[in-house]
């Protein structure tokens, strides 16, 4: 920790923002993120380079160093969206987020860009549940069309359009800095299906968690900004498969987290498991 504070080159209050597979610490006006020592440094370097190429959309990094064998990235600290914003006067910047994603999806992918890490998250979430998966989740996972399970994980050629996607977008992945909003966290950034970036809010909405008005603001702004992931006349044509996949991922993560914390599944988790039951019973998208 002392080493991380030192490499930040910054002074000020120290806050641990996240301590999971990665350790994220804020030191004054700078955020440092330490990866596990087995992190793929080539991919990390490629993704930091992508951030620089997309310097008006993704918050540009300040540096990459090694601390005790672990790769560490250094970032300017932005102001995140907070739970208070859900009911506060400023509200949630759904439109700004949608416009940033639409712009990202419209940029040409540089040659040699890595593949998006989004779909691998679904496989990891299922692996975390192990053999003891609730039957609804296992059945919904088995019902997913093959491309959603392995989408862009296997062949680069499948993506003739070579669209860049964030790969893990949620409200914690947007910050205000220098008077405007930016996307943050390039860890899953890469070539993939852009609908994947809309699939998490789509899954929240479909499971009755996100109010229809908020979903409409987000999707409407994305379409208005000429985002290419969905068709204007029938966005669910492209959203259905990835939203099913994200519903399974979110349900699996909710169950695994509740188990880990030794508590019963909360209402949001229950809503997602119910969606899994309906996904397993529904026709293929």
């Amino acid at each position: 920790m002392t080493d991380l504070v030192q490499v930040s080159g910054s002074e000020g209050p120290v806050h641990v923002l996240k301590d999971t597979r990665v350790l994220v610490v804020r030191v004054g006006a700078v955020v440092v993120k330490a990866y596990p020592d087995d992190a793929d440094e080539d991919e990390l370097t490629a993704r930091l380079e992508l951030c620089r190429v997309l310097g008006d959309l993704l918050l540009p990094p300040l540096g990459l160093v090694r601390v005790g064998g672990r790769p560490v990235t250094i970032w300017p600290a932005g102001d995140p969206v907070t739970p208070e914003d859900l009911s506060g006067p400023g509200g949630v910047p759904w439109e700004e987020a949608a416009r940033l994603l639409a712009a990202l999806h419209s940029r040409p992918a540089p040659s040699g860009a890595p593949l998006s890490g989004g779909p691998a998250r679904l496989a990891r979430a299922m692996a975390r549940l192990g053999a003891d998966s609730p039957p609804e989740i296992a059945a919904a996972y088995a019902s997913l069309p093959e491309p959603a399970q392995t989408r862009q994980a296997q062949t680069r050629q499948a993506h003739t359009q070579q669209t860049l996607t964030h790969g893990d977008w949620h409200l914690g992945q947007i910050v205000r800095h220098d008077g405007r909003w930016w996307l943050i966290d390039p860890d899953d950034l890469g070539i993939g299906d852009p609908a994947w970036d809309l699939a998490r809010p789509a899954a929240w909405f479909a499971s009755g968690l996100l109010e229809p008005a908020a979903w409409q603001r987000f999707l409407g702004a994305y379409v208005q900004a000429a985002g290419p992931a969905v068709s204007r006349d029938d966005p669910w044509r492209e959203l259905d498969a990835p939203a099913r996949a994200l519903t399974v991922q979110l349900a699996a993560t909710a169950v695994a987290t509740a188990r880990h914390e030794g508590r019963p599944l909360d209402a949001a988790g229950e809503a997602l498991v119910s969606s899994c039951r309906r996904i397993a019973a529904a026709d293929a998208p």
């Binding site: 739970p83 479909a206 968690l209 529904a282």
Partner: protein, 83 residues
């Protein structure tokens, strides 16, 4: 305040947070800065709630009810902000 049109006496009303002056003589209405925009916004919201079609949803989706309470549900709020 006097009506700028007929010099009649203006009476102040507060309706849904909008401050309105109405002339007791000619019934003309005076809006403060930004209040026309506030009214338009309220009108749009109302129209959307009343007439706007609900957004399309997949067949496997949940019926939308009870989502108001979810704002206070810690599990749901956490999910909005984490992977």
């Amino acid at each position: 305040m006097q009506c700028p049109k007929c010099r009649g006496n203006m009476r102040t009303y507060d309706r849904n947070g909008v401050h309105i002056e109405q002339c007791e003589n000619c019934r003309g209405i005076f809006l403060d800065y930004g209040e026309l925009e506030t009214l338009s916004r309220l009108e749009t919201q109302w129209a959307q709630q009343s007439y706007g079609p609900p957004p399309a949803a997949p067949g496997w989706g949940a019926p939308h009810h009870g989502h108001h309470q979810r704002h206070r549900d810690r599990g749901w709020v956490g999910m909005l902000f984490s992977s």
